[in-house]
Symmetry: C2
Subunit: 192 residues, 2 copies
């Protein structure tokens, strides 16, 4: 009946994620979006709504995928402590392999703080998921004596998430793989 959509919305969204993380919401123009996404101006508005809706779509997609990848790595290893270490490794590898390492989640928090309810909600949801998954493995590790007994798993999980964010920001600032790895190593050290 009709001409089918020619571009893949998911691929286009990935491109949107890329520019938004590099230049933020305010720093990304609609023209830059259409250019990077390879989508006509009108198609963009027809498909994704306005710029803010597109931003939220990109943010949700990025955060979901990011959290999913990290939780997968976290749960893959048989030993809990190995899973936590892998969690960091995946993150570091990702930050170093991509040309321009920038996290859209961190960028959103930095740019908007808590002024945009939608952003706050997305950030808190992913933070909750990640923290809980970490806590699970920390409890497990503690039960098996892999980490110190006087640690509060909840606190430790929050600490680890904070260090994940710190690593992302250090990468954005230009730190090399070695620096990032030493941060992760020190963070893990505090669990002993």
């Amino acid at each position: 009946m009709a001409r089918p959509k020619i571009f893949d919305p998911d691929t286009a969204l990935d491109a949107a994620i890329s520019i938004f993380s590099q230049h933020g919401f305010e720093g990304t123009s609609a023209a830059a979006l259409t250019a990077a996404m390879g989508v006509g101006r009108q198609s963009l508005y027809d498909t994704f709504g306005d710029k803010w809706q597109l931003y939220l779509l990109a943010l949700r997609r990025y955060v979901n995928r990011s959290v999913a990848t990290q939780i997968l790595a976290l749960r893959a290893a048989p030993k809990a402590l190995d899973g936590i270490a892998a969690h960091f490794s995946v993150l570091i590898e990702d930050a170093c392999s991509s040309i321009r390492p920038a996290c859209l989640g961190v960028g959103a928090i930095c740019e908007f703080g808590r002024e945009k309810p939608e952003v706050t909600e997305i950030a808190e949801a992913s933070n909750r998921l990640l923290t809980y998954a970490l806590k699970e493995r920390l409890v497990e590790a503690q039960a098996k004596g892999e980490i110190a007994g006087d640690i509060d798993p909840q606190d430790a999980a929050g600490f680890l998430v904070a260090n994940l964010v710190a690593i992302k920001l250090a990468a954005r600032a230009g730190a090399g793989r070695q620096t990032l790895q030493s941060i992760a190593a020190m963070a893990l050290r505090s669990l002993r």
Copy 2:
């Protein structure tokens, strides 16, 4: 001979620091600047040059003061480890006491990454200063047996700076004093 300047450039700069940290460079309009700084449009341009120069001035001022305050706290305590702990306390207290906790330094890195040489330079200089000051006290602490002997002071200093940044970002995301303190406590724990 002439009418003297009526507003204090430093006070005005502090106001600029406040809005720039809340909304970033791109998110802050010239109108918002004049309103918050209490300075006429033309006076602003006459005194500070254009928006970008004003941003750099604000960034330098913020970073210098911030680093100075923190190094002061770091060196005040007789015992090195206490100094490091105080370093974190000062930061946390500052982040919690201000209504809108936002760090212009972190914001600059988030917004621009390494695209703007001036920003990169400012960030790296302050990072160097802070890291070195921390390393000094870590070496001292190690010599006196306050921290573990198998720690590399350079790595540990980088780790601590990363956690300072992490705390600032957690505060921006809405974390309370207790959460921030537990992050700091865990970071210090890794030195044992």
